[in-house]
Symmetry: C2
Subunit: 217 residues, 2 copies
DNA sequence: TAATTTTTTTAGATTAGTCTAAATTTTTTA
DNA sequence: TAAAAAATTTAGACTAATCTAAAAAAATTA
């Protein structure tokens, strides 16, 4: 049984590992966990002793198979609770993350399997991120950014790559929700902002900054 | 903001205070929290400094008004989560306590108020215990024990005074559930066991030990 | 490639919550 | 009511997770 802190380190290492081969650096972890590099060094030693990470001094870390399995189980719990909060308790998608950060550490396998059933075995959380299964396996979808879509193409909004409440609230105000259809009319030469037709109904200008963080298929 | 441990001490002091005027003793707390008296002494000093308990060395403790309010808010969360687990996730009433011991420490007022609404503002948890309101107030019902009911009387089962899984599973097997009607046919001279007619349908013999822990009105 | 800068680790403390053993206070008993 | 027993507190130590400051290693730069 692992502590809240250990679970959080595993989760953070998992997220920082996405899209790189190299190990995660001590400083990157210190930034993400709001601690100092010295504290991270200590913790890495302990996690390595427990066989959850591959760690050589000064070399950065990667998760072992077991470490990754555990990280994905925490992420599974986090995302299932997010679905519960959004769908059953009517929380906004900008509010669910903070609460799920606590709920993800509740220790009961039966609880999470029953919650999964209660929610109807959802495949995605409120931000469009996939939910790992009980074995700690997660499908990897490769979505494109709206900013990379060529003019004239029609796509569907499937996720976001930025999860801050400020960004999500901005999308709410713009009426951009998961599943909406987006036709890229024109990309501005001036500021790379994108003019999109939403659900064949109305046109909206999306800044490049926003377009970079919208995932589509 | 108080730690899990502090919240648990407050809750335990609250429960051990029920039905006595005197303060709760250090040893009683050590028993209930599975720690040693020395650890309890240390913690009592801290809780007293924070104004949550009235504490004089060697004299036992009582909760201050603020301490009681906090204890009742933890109990509110515990009992609401128990309702969620039993009614929405189909856990048995013998299983909900252990999981709610963790969930009760999740810190979000909005979460608990939304959960309350989602559950339809329940007044009682799955064991028949009343749920405190958001202000930390709880109605006090005085129920009698089945063992004190005179022959010929008909009552309704409203609660239990023993919450162990073993006891609750025993009641399940006997078919004794909250709300069932119990007519006391006869109390045995030999072993004080009670013969009861359940819901006007079938007769059951209930041991004195069980009858003492069944609350009725 | 030697010097400088950056990153990481080690050394030594700190805090919350716990422990055992010893000391102290209260309660019980004879 | 004095002695014995029980309950409680204090003293000193431990663990997990953190910190600052200093030392060491790696990376960058001139």
């Amino acid at each position: 049984m692992y502590s809240f802190t250990e679970e959080n380190y595993l989760k953070t290492i998992f997220y920082l590992s996405i899209g790189t081969q190299e190990g995660v650096s001590t400083n990157a972890l210190a930034d993400s966990t709001n601690t100092r590099a010295a504290s991270v060094s200590d913790m890495l030693k302990r996690l390595a002793e427990k066989g959850l990470i591959n760690y050589q001094k000064y070399r950065g870390v990667t998760l072992t198979e077991e470490g990754e399995r555990l990280a994905l189980l925490v992420i599974r719990k986090h995302r299932l609770w997010e679905v519960f909060l959004a769908e059953k308790l009517q929380f906004g998608w900008d509010e669910v993350h903070v609460i799920a950060e606590e709920l993800e550490h509740i220790r009961s396998e039966r609880l999470i399997e029953k919650l999964d059933a209660f929610l109807g075995y959802p495949k995605f959380d409120p931000h469009g991120d996939p939910i790992p299964n009980a074995a700690g396996e997660m499908p990897r979808f490769i979505y494109r950014k709206l900013s990379e879509i060529v003019e004239g193409t029609t796509v569907v909004m499937t996720g976001v790559s930025e999860h801050s409440p400020a960004f999500l609230q901005h999308l709410d105000k713009a009426g951009l929700t998961l599943g909406c259809q987006l036709k890229v009319n024109e990309i501005s030469d001036f500021d790379k902002s994108v003019s999109v037709l939403i659900d064949n109904v109305r046109t909206l200008f999306v800044s490049h900054e926003v377009a970079k963080n919208l995932l589509v298929k």
